[in-house]
């Protein structure tokens, strides 16, 4: 009995000590996490304060009384009702186009060898990281000639035509990994090329579709450069990211309105992230795992 006592006591204290350090570490990480999300907490808090409360300075985050009219000011006077609707239209349409075109392209590039397939893949890979600043001038000129410059449709097409190479490659990688028997079986059943794709391959690629769809949704919702340039001469086409700039430009002293506009714009994408976190993370992690 005494022998086991002397053996276990130092070990237990050491284990306790180690656990203590884990808790210290957790506390530090919690503090860091607070700093991390502080800008958002500040924004939500400011969106419910009066201007006077904010300009009074200080670090207090709890408003004296909740000023919901800040939201109605941003929504109606700041026209965030219009901007939000534009953003939803542009994002949903762009995501739909991108998912369809990337699934189609990824399928044939991942599963078939055809004249020119190597060239297509080489071009796609070579242009994977083309920044918007490089292509923006010809895109505007082209859209102008097509009569698409000051339209939502033009914005959608430009966003859907910009770099989505990564999505094609994700699809290609996924379709490549599917067993060949699937195709053979469907051909035996008399299905043609298109039916094999729509009824067998596409339903099986749901996880990839979710990842590609959500990442495209994120990029489009957050896009700034293209929507900015496409709505220069027509403010009614602004998306929330462009609208925020304009709002601050016109109401530079309306901090609570600005914060409310920010909350309105960020809430949908943050909610999507909270519910679909897995797909966000998988989509980004895919870059390294391959």
């Amino acid at each position: 009995m005494s022998v086991t006592m002397t053996e276990t006591t130092p070990r237990t204290t050491r284990r306790l000590g180690r656990r203590f350090w884990w808790w210290v570490l957790t506390a530090l990480l919690l503090a860091l996490a607070f700093v991390w999300v502080f800008p958002f907490i500040w924004m939500v808090s400011a969106s419910l304060k009066t201007s006077g409360e904010i300009f009074g300075g200080g670090l207090g985050l709890i408003p004296e009384t909740l000023q919901w009219e800040n939201y109605s000011r941003a929504w109606f006077d700041g026209q965030f009702n219009v901007y939000l609707l534009n953003t939803v239209i542009v994002t949903v349409a762009t995501t739909a186009i991108v998912v369809v075109r990337c699934a189609l392209a990824g399928y044939v590039l991942g599963r078939y060898r055809f004249p020119g397939s190597r060239l297509v893949i080489a071009i796609l890979v070579a242009t994977l990281f083309v920044p918007t600043g490089y292509t923006i001038i010809p895109v505007v000129k082209l859209s102008m000639e097509l009569g698409l410059l000051d339209t939502l449709a033009g914005m959608i097409l430009a966003l859907a035509g910009a770099a989505n190479v990564a999505s094609i490659l994700i699809y290609a990688g996924y379709f490549r990994g599917m067993p060949a028997e699937l195709e053979e079986a469907s051909i035996v059943d008399g299905a043609g090329f298109v039916r094999t794709f729509t009824q067998i391959m596409l339903p099986l690629s749901m996880p990839v579709t979710a990842t590609v769809g959500i990442l495209t949704f994120l990029f489009t919702w957050n896009a700034f450069f293209l929507p900015l340039v496409f709505s220069f001469s027509n403010p009614a086409l602004r998306t929330v990211s462009v609208g925020m700039q304009a709002f601050v430009g016109e109401n530079s002293t309306d901090w609570p309105g600005m914060a409310a506009a920010g909350v309105i714009s960020l809430l949908p994408i943050v909610a999507l992230f909270v519910f679909m976190q897995r797909y966000f993370v998988e989509g980004i992690a895919g870059a390294v795992k391959s």
Binding site: V37, R101, S117, G133, I137, L157, A287, V288
Partner: protein
């Protein structure tokens, strides 16, 4: 956001099995029909990607050779004059310098900071792991242009929370984003905060690739946590360092949204990255200099291309290293 070369390489290889199937005469016409469908599937990408990415890349070269003062005005061929003017403009070189300096501030913070945090978050003994991951990833999903505007208020020298904090610590009024000495570093720190989560996820994914039985075997041999880290984790992660670094460096080119909304390149051009320089001449000038801006854009494209070449090289090297280990 993806490491392309790998997926692409394997994608080309995949088709070969289908192609080597025996070719009887009837099969040839079937194959021709199949190819027709293949091209039909590629058509949407050909059209959209061709119009909005490939054509602009080529057209930029032509536009860089003309004088062109506004989207609806005439273009006159001027040869290499625009390049000469860009090279002679000290502000262009300043924007190149700012872009590279920004990268030097931001990339190491992201790569090594995320590395340490990933090691901690990967430990099963740490409480609240998934909460931390969500919190640190949150800024990544938020709209950069909106965050940029909000940050202008947070760093406001009169009423922002940072100003209140400075008063508490007895520092005078500081204008971190508004003075040319501190603006770039402050913008860099905000940028790191905004995109840190991406690099963190890269590292967490890299850590997941280490097989668990490797640790188990070492633990049975009596290795402690420090030695596990030193002799298993570290060597297994080295190949990833290269690829994650390059992916992160590439990401640094996407700073336009944040910079434009936060500082618009100022004060005194101290945060003017190349994309803002291009934007300023093409869209913000009273008389747009589109030819001149295109020349700058082409040069920007060349810089990006150099980094992409580096990326391909890094992918190949890190893959070879992983194959060996």
């Amino acid at each position: 956001m993806a490491s392309p070369t790998l997926i692409a390489e394997t994608a080309t290889r995949s088709g070969s099995a289908a192609a080597t199937a025996a070719k009887r005469p009837g099969q040839r016409s079937r194959e021709r029909r199949r190819n027709l469908w293949i091209y039909a599937f590629l058509l949407p990408t050909f059209v959209l990607y061709g119009l909005y990415t490939l054509y602009p890349m080529v057209a930029s070269y032509w536009y860089s050779l003309v004088e062109w003062n506004g989207f609806s005005s005439q273009q006159t061929f001027v040869g290499l004059d625009n390049y000469e003017a860009v090279f002679a403009d000290p502000l262009f070189w300043s924007s190149v310098r700012v872009t590279l300096l920004f990268m030097l501030i931001v990339a190491p913070l992201r790569v090594f900071g995320a590395f340490f945090l990933a090691i901690l978050l990967n430990s099963p003994k740490l409480p609240l792991r998934s909460f931390f991951r969500t919190a640190y990833f949150l800024p990544v999903v938020t709209t950069t242009a909106i965050v940029g505007v909000v940050m202008r208020f947070i760093f406001d020298p009169a009423s922002g929370p940072t100003a209140a904090l400075a008063t508490i610590f007895g520092l005078g009024p500081i204008d971190l984003l508004g003075s040319s000495e501190t603006a770039l570093i402050t913008a860099g720190v905000i940028y790191v905060w905004k995109f840190f989560g991406i690099t963190l996820i890269y590292w967490l994914a890299a850590l997941q690739t280490i097989p668990a039985d490797l640790y188990e075997a070492a633990r049975i041999d009596g290795a402690g946590p420090m030695r596990l880290f030193r002799y298993i984790t570290l060597p297994m992660l080295i190949p990833f360092l290269l690829i994650i670094s390059v992916l992160t460096i590439e990401d640094c080119f996407h700073a336009f949204d944040l910079m434009q909304t936060m500082t618009a390149g100022g004060p005194f051009f101290s945060t003017e990255i190349i994309e803002i320089y291009i934007y300023r001449w093409a869209f913000a000038a009273s008389i747009p200099q589109l030819g001149f801006a295109s020349a700058a854009a082409v040069l920007f494209g060349v810089i990006v291309l150099l980094v992409v070449i580096l990326q391909v090289w890094a992918t190949v090297v890190s893959r070879r290293m992983r194959a060996r280990s």
